[in-house]
C-alpha cells in the first residue's frame, strides 16, 4: 500500500511541481501588482478626495461583495465579449488581471485603515512645522502606517495564494489543475492526489501564516478590517 503511494508520488511529483511553480508565479505577480494598485487607492481614499473617494469606494465594495469565482467569470467571459479589442484576452491574462484587481481591493482597505490609525497629532505636528500635505504623508504618516499594514497584509496574501486554486476552473495549469489532470492517470487514488496537493499548498501558506502571527505580536494586533 505504502509502496504504491510512494510510486504515485514519485511519478507525479515533477508534474505537480510544475503546477506549484505556476501557482507561485501567478500569486507573486498578483500580489505585487495588486498591492501597488491597492496602495495607490488606499492612499487616495485616506485623503478623502471628493469624487475619487466615492468611485474607489464603489470599486472596493463591488470586489468585496462578489465571490472571486464570479469575478473570474466576468473577466474571462464578459469582458472579452464586450467587443473592445484589447479586452479580448486569453485565459492567463484574464487570470492575472482578475487576481490582481481582487488583491487590490483588500490591500486598499488595509492601507487606508493603517493611515487612519496613525495618531492625528503626528500629522498636526508636521503641519505646525510647515510641511505640505504630500510631505506630511510621505515623511511622517506613511512610514508609520506601513508598519501597521504588515500583519493584515500577510493574511490577505495567504487568501490570494489560496484563491489561485480557483483559476483551475478556467484551465490555468496551476497546482490544482495539474492535480485534476493527474487524476486521469490514477483515477483510483483521487483522495491521495488531493491530499498531496493540499500538502503542497500547506507548505507554501503555513510559513506566511506563521509570519503573520509573529508580525501581529511585534506590531500589535490591530483588527482594523471587520467586514471582509
Amino acid at each position: 500500500m505504502l509502496e504504491r503511494y510512494w510510486a504515485i508520488t514519485v511519478s507525479l511529483f515533477p508534474f505537480l511541481w510544475k503546477g506549484f511553480i505556476e501557482t507561485l508565479y501567478i500569486s507573486l505577480v498578483a500580489i505585487v501588482v495588486g498591492s501597488l494598485i491597492g496602495f495607490f487607492i488606499g492612499v487616495v481614499r485616506s485623503q478623502r478626495v471628493p469624487v475619487l473617494n466615492g468611485l474607489f469606494g464603489l470599486y472596493i465594495h463591488t470586489l468585496r461583495g462578489t465571490p472571486f469565482l464570479v469575478q473570474l467569470y466576468l473577466f474571462y467571459f464578459v469582458l472579452p465579449n464586450s467587443g473592445i479589442s484589447w479586452l479580448s484576452w486569453d485565459s492567463i491574462t484574464a487570470a492575472f488581471v482578475a487576481l490582481s484587481v481582487y488583491t487590490s481591493s483588500y490591500v486598499a482597505e488595509i492601507v487606508k485603515a493603517a493611515i487612519e490609525a496613525v495618531p492625528r497629532g503626528q500629522s498636526e505636528a508636521a503641519t505646525a512645522l510647515g510641511m505640505t500635505r504630500l510631505e506630511r504623508l510621505w515623511y511622517v504618516v506613511l512610514p508609520q502606517a506601513l508598519k501597521l499594514t504588515v500583519p493584515p497584509m500577510s493574511g490577505v496574501y495567504v487568501m490570494i495564494i489560496k484563491s489561485t486554486a480557483i483559476l483551475s476552473v478556467i484551465g490555468i495549469s496551476e497546482l490544482t489543475r495539474q492535480g485534476e489532470i493527474s487524476i486521469l492517470r490514477f483515477p483510483r487514488d483521487v483522495l491521495f492526489i488531493y491530499g498531496l496537493i493540499a500538502a503542497m499548498y500547506f507548505v507554501y501558506c503555513y510559513p506566511v501564516l506563521r509570519f503573520a502571527r509573529w508580525a501581529e505580536r511585534r506590531v500589535g494586533a490591530a483588527r482594523i478590517v471587520d467586514l471582509d
Binding site: G65, T66, F68, V70, Q71, V190, C205, R223
Partner: protein, 231 residues
C-alpha cells in the same frame, strides 16, 4: 433601447428567473445551514483552543492550521471524494450535503477564532468583580461575560458570514445547483455571458449590501462601553 438589449437582454434573464430563484434559494440554504453548524462547531474549537489539555489542544490546532493554509476548493474535493470512504452513510448523500459539510469544516476554525477572541476580550477584572459581589457562575456568565463577549463577537461574525455566502459559489464546481450554477446554465444554453454573469454578480452584491447594512445597524445598537473599549 436596442443598445441595452444588445448588451444586456433582460428578457432572457426573465426567462431564466425561476432557475435564478432556485439557485438563490439553494445558496441561502447552504449558507444558512453552514452558518449555524459552523458556529456550533466553532464554539467547540474555541473552547479547545483555550484549553490547557495538550491532548485536546494539539489536534484541534493542527486541524485549524490545515484549514487556514489550504484552499477551500481543495478542501471541497477532499470532502467530496474522501467522506464516502470515511463515513459509509455519506455514500447516499446528495452533492448539497457534501457542499455543506465542506463549508462547515472550512468556516468553523474562522468562527472559532472569532469566538475565542470574544471570550478573551472580557477582562478578568469583570469576572473577579462579579465574584466579589457574590454572583454565581451562571449569573456571571449571563450578566457579565456573555453580553460583553457577544458585543465583541457579533460584528466580525457578520463579516465572516459574508465570506461564507461568497464561498458557497464554489459549490457550483461539485455540481450543486446554487446561484452561480444558474448563471453557468444560462451561459451554456444561450451563450450570453453578459446576461449570465452580470446578473449573478448583481445578485451577490445585493446580498452583500444587505449584510453590510445589517453590520452597520448592529454596530450602532451595540455601541456601548463593551464595544467602545475595543478601540
Amino acid at each position: 433601447m436596442n443598445w441595452l438589449l444588445d448588451f444586456y437582454n433582460y428578457r432572457i434573464v426573465a426567462q431564466y428567473l425561476d432557475r435564478f430563484a432556485a439557485g438563490l434559494g439553494n445558496t441561502l440554504t447552504a449558507a444558512g445551514i453552514s452558518l449555524v453548524l459552523s458556529i456550533i462547531f466553532g464554539t467547540f474549537i474555541a473552547v479547545a483552543l483555550l484549553s490547557d489539555r495538550q491532548a485536546l489542544y494539539r489536534p484541534i490546532a493542527a486541524y485549524v492550521a490545515f484549514i487556514r493554509a489550504t484552499p477551500l476548493l481543495v478542501q471541497i474535493y477532499l470532502v467530496y471524494y474522501g467522506l464516502p470512504a470515511l463515513l459509509p452513510i455519506a455514500k447516499s448523500w446528495s452533492d448539497m450535503y457534501f457542499g455543506i459539510a465542506a463549508l462547515v469544516l472550512n468556516s468553523a476554525p474562522y468562527m472559532g477564532e472569532i469566538i475565542r477572541a470574544g471570550i478573551e476580550s472580557v477582562p478578568r477584572g469583570q469576572i473577579e468583580g462579579a465574584k466579589a459581589v457574590g454572583m454565581t457562575f451562571n449569573e456571571r456568565l449571563r450578566h457579565i461575560v456573555l453580553p460583553q463577549a457577544f458585543a465583541n463577537t457579533l460584528p466580525p461574525l457578520i463579516g465572516q458570514t459574508a465570506v461564507l455566502i461568497k464561498d458557497t459559489s464554489l459549490l457550483s464546481i461539485i455540481t450543486v445547483f446554487e446561484f452561480t450554477s444558474a448563471g453557468i446554465l444560462l451561459n451554456s444554453e444561450r451563450v450570453r455571458p453578459n446576461e449570465s454573469f452580470i446578473t449573478i454578480a448583481l445578485g451577490y452584491l445585493a446580498i452583500y449590501v444587505v449584510i453590510l447594512l445589517l453590520a452597520r445597524m448592529v454596530k450602532q445598537r451595540l455601541a456601548g462601553p463593551a464595544w467602545n473599549a475595543q478601540g
